[in-house]
Amino acid sequence: MGVISLRLKERELKRLDELSKLERKDRSTTARELLEYGWEFLMVKHYKEGKLSLEGLAKKLDISISEAIDRLSELGIEAPIEFEDYLRGFKAF
């Protein structure tokens, strides 16, 4: 595990302390978990906005595509497929 030092705002430190108290975990563990959640949130947001493909999302989250589908389903994230594309899809048959 690597070590870095970083400056945090008073508000961020307060939140970190609040969460570590709530979760009964030390500051480092809580900070690492928050980074994990933040990363996932950002990647899912990119996917939702169509900036990241499903395979890309799975890669970024270090999970399989099947697991990425399950995760998106749990979070209720709508697939970026437009109604017009859906109508076009009938022409393939």
Binding site: L52, K59, I69, L72, P80, F90, A92, F93
Partner: protein, 164 residues
């Protein structure tokens, strides 16, 4: 009818247990990278896909043109499996089954016909290969895993009930 599948649609159809029925009427082709992705973790869907490959109901094809694949990835910001599926569909001159926004966009730009998991469900019903109550249950499952917009699900429901 031959259709190249991206991992997204293949896994969705496996998750709602419709993939085996589908292989009865459609020749399912996947690139090697899609096979690797689908079988990368154990699970019911991976197991089903693996069995269908062994039974030759899903054909795995090698995509040779690595330069074209890299270019598609760069141009459309998609990954290897998605780009290989586009490349293979283009080479074989057949539609692409895909449930991924950026890959659909790339298909449109490249003039490729595409379709999604929900279309296969509707198609099986229109061919009388799936009964309505089962199709409705599958559509509910698919709306959960496929996370289609309300407009798409409502239209699909209308088509199922009204036979449009």
């Amino acid at each position: 009818m031959e259709i190249v599948f991206d991992a997204s649609t293949l896994i969705l159809l496996a998750k709602i247990d419709l993939l085996r029925e589908l292989t009865g009427g459609v020749k399912v082709i996947i690139p090697e990278k899609v096979k690797t992705e689908c079988l990368s973790k154990t699970g019911i869907d991976a197991m089903l896909i693996s069995i269908l490959i062994r039974e030759n109901k899903i054909e795995v094809k090698k995509v040779e043109n690595s330069e074209a694949i890299k270019k598609i990835q760069r141009d459309f910001r998609i990954e290897t499996g998605e780009a290989e599926a586009i490349c293979l569909a283009k080479t074989l001159g057949c539609p692409l089954a895909v449930d991924d926004g950026p890959t659909i966009k790339a298909s449109k730009v490249m003039g490729l016909r595409f379709t999604t998991a929900v279309h296969f469900l509707l198609n099986l019903v229109s061919q009388n290969r799936l009964e309505l109550p089962i199709a409705l249950a599958k559509l509910e499952k698919l709306s959960n895993y496929g996370r289609y917009s309300r407009a798409i699900i409502e239209d699909a429901m209308k088509r199922l009930r009204g036979g449009e």
